[in-house]
């Protein structure tokens, strides 16, 4: 093959590229984006709190002491557990929040993850194959779209036992169409791309094309949607808890805490505001992080996140 002109002699070939790739690159970029770093830190903090603390504080969190009811926050007189005050039954707000973190995250993350996986799989199949499969799936999605998800959840949870498992299932099922539509729309566009034809030319079967060609390009969008959904599922779970068909005491989540404090909003704002702030911050962090992740993972947009040294950019 000596007579073949080597590309390296004739075209500009970047020398061994020192730019990091994959996970290392993502971490590297994360450190350069303050908002994303802050969001990731907040979410990581919540996960640590939700996993590590509840076993130690569970008893103390549910101990009622009516002499301390609606204790104002920011005082260490009653010990650190009461630094954020107490609720209407004298339970320490801080420890209730810790317990709430676990339930809220568990319900929201599980429901979102389940809905995203199922919705994406169905959407890819629907968009890639088209035809009657697509027709049936989309009609089901349409029907589900016309039923208010809260109403459906209400009906289902009224008939079934209100439990964490049922809550997750109901929340997941009602959110599946969101991912189904997104994944389907992307699959519809992607299946016409030449690299799909190229895969077909080397003998790849349909499932392989869906898995290796389409899915990796749809995942970033689905993840963005999922992170956005995290906030609304968090609120939906809170709403169901408020209506009394979500979690049941002694389990507690942020939504239940907001609902419980409503009656005392004028006299004891902290009972409502603190869990509300937790919900808002978490939703905000999820949104910021999702937006950053989507852009950072896209090679075409990567340049926006990596400041290269002068002259370090080469012609592609």
């Amino acid at each position: 093959m000596s007579s073949v002109p080597a590309a390296s002699e004739l075209e500009v070939v970047p020398a061994a590229d020192p730019r990091p790739t994959g996970g290392r690159l993502t971490v590297h970029r994360l450190l350069r984006s303050p908002s994303a770093l802050l969001s990731a830190s907040w979410l990581a903090f919540l996960v640590v709190v939700a996993v590590a603390l509840p076993p130690f504080v569970e008893t103390a969190a549910n101990r009622q002491d009516l002499s301390l009811r609606l204790l104002p926050p920011f005082s260490l007189d009653e010990g650190f557990a009461f630094v954020l005050g107490a609720d209407s039954l004298g339970r320490p707000e801080l420890l209730q929040l810790v317990m709430g973190t676990r339930s809220s995250l568990l319900v929201a993350v599980t429901a979102v993850a389940a809905a995203a996986v199922v919705g994406m799989a169905l959407g890819l199949v629907s968009g890639y194959f088209g035809g009657w499969v697509d027709e049936i799936l989309m009609r089901i999605a349409d029907v589900m779209h016309t039923i208010p998800s809260l109403l459906l959840a209400l009906a289902v949870l009224y008939v079934l036992q209100p439990s964490v498992g049922n809550l997750v299932i109901v929340l997941a099922v009602t959110r599946v169409p969101v991912y189904l539509r997104t994944a389907r729309a992307e699959a519809l566009a992607l299946r016409e791309r030449v690299f799909v034809e190229s895969s077909r030319a080397v003998g790849a079967r349909d499932w392989r094309i869906i898995r290796t060609d389409l899915a990796p390009l749809v995942v970033p969008t689905i993840r963005t949607v999922a992170m956005l959904e995290l906030a609304s599922v968090l609120l939906a779970a809170a709403g169901l808890s408020f209506l009394g068909i979500g979690l049941q005491r002694p389990d507690v989540d942020w939504g239940m805490m907001v609902a419980d404090g409503r009656a005392y909003l004028a006299s004891a704002w902290w009972v409502t505001v603190l869990p509300g702030v937790a919900i808002v911050l978490t939703a905000l962090a999820a949104n910021l992080l999702s937006n950053w992740l989507r852009a950072a993972e896209d090679p075409a947009q990567a340049a926006r996140f990596v400041r290269r040294p002068r002259g370090g950019r080469r012609a592609a």
Partner: protein
């Protein structure tokens, strides 16, 4: 590779591909195409845009299902096979696409792109895929350092070389080249064509070369088919067609190409 077998590698008979349009209107992209491709030959199909050249190429490989007709590869009727039975044959007939910016998956590294076909044809999986990919890259004139790069980091010419390496990894018999250089810079075109001709020589490949570039076709092809509105208007050796065009359309096509 079974290059020593007698007879044509590809026999195409009465191939017809019709697309359904809106309101029941049909578009006949390829009509009654019949030709043979001998082993080691480079058969060119020329014609203007929309003449059905690319559809012909895709129909031969059944990337587009032909409406009627037969495609025989070394005696096996590819059009009679169901999709499952066709799959093992796919490795013998590979395709190089026009636009290397579109034909390579944007998220896969060069290593993944070139080794992916072996995951489908598992009997071809080398002991050391990395080493084999590097070898293939060398064969197409690429330094082994590009193995971890993504297509976005490569130039058009480099991408097309990767696409060629990907096809060669399956040790194909026939390469269908669908305008393989028309999306590239003029300066790069010559290099890629030189590479393709060199590979044809050293590996004994058979080419079905789709192009609208008559100067290029005259350089590389031994036989030429001229297509117009889905129909073959003229067939013959390259020399004969270029020196003594018999069809009116061929004459106008040649006349429209001033640098011949």
């Amino acid at each position: 590779m079974q290059a020593d077998q007698p007879g044509p590698v590809l026999e195409v008979r009465g191939l017809r591909t019709v697309f359904d349009g809106r309101g029941g209107r049909e578009t006949v992209a390829v009509d009654d195409a019949s030709f043979d491709v001998a082993p080691g030959q480079c058969l060119a199909v020329v014609g203007e845009s929309g003449s059905g050249k690319s559809t012909l190429a895709r129909s031969v490989l059944r990337l587009v299902e032909p409406t009627a007709g037969r495609v025989r590869y070394r005696g096996t009727d590819l059009t009679a096979l169901d999709r499952r039975a066709l799959r093992p044959y796919r490795r013998h007939l590979q395709m190089i696409f026009q636009d290397p910016y579109a034909s390579l998956h944007p998220r896969q590294s060069v290593l993944r792109l070139v080794s992916e076909p072996w995951r489908i044809h598992r009997d071809l999986m080398p002991e050391d895929p990395c080493a084999r990919v590097a070898e293939l890259l060398e064969q197409v004139g690429m330094p082994p350092a590009v193995i971890d790069m993504h297509p976005t980091q490569l130039s058009g010419g480099q991408r097309q070389r990767v696409a060629i390496a990907r096809a060669l990894g399956l040790e194909p018999d026939v390469l269908v080249l669908d305008e393989p250089v028309s999306a590239l810079d003029v300066s790069i075109q010559a290099q890629v064509i030189a590479l393709l001709m060199e590979l044809q020589q050293s590996l004994g490949l058979t080419y079905l070369f789709i192009s609208h570039d008559l100067a290029l076709v005259r350089l590389v092809a031994s036989e030429v088919i001229v297509m117009h509105h889905g129909v073959f208007v003229e067939t013959g050796t390259t020399e004969r067609v270029f020196e003594d065009p018999r069809d009116e359309y061929t004459r106008s096509l040649l006349a429209a190409s001033p640098h011949l």
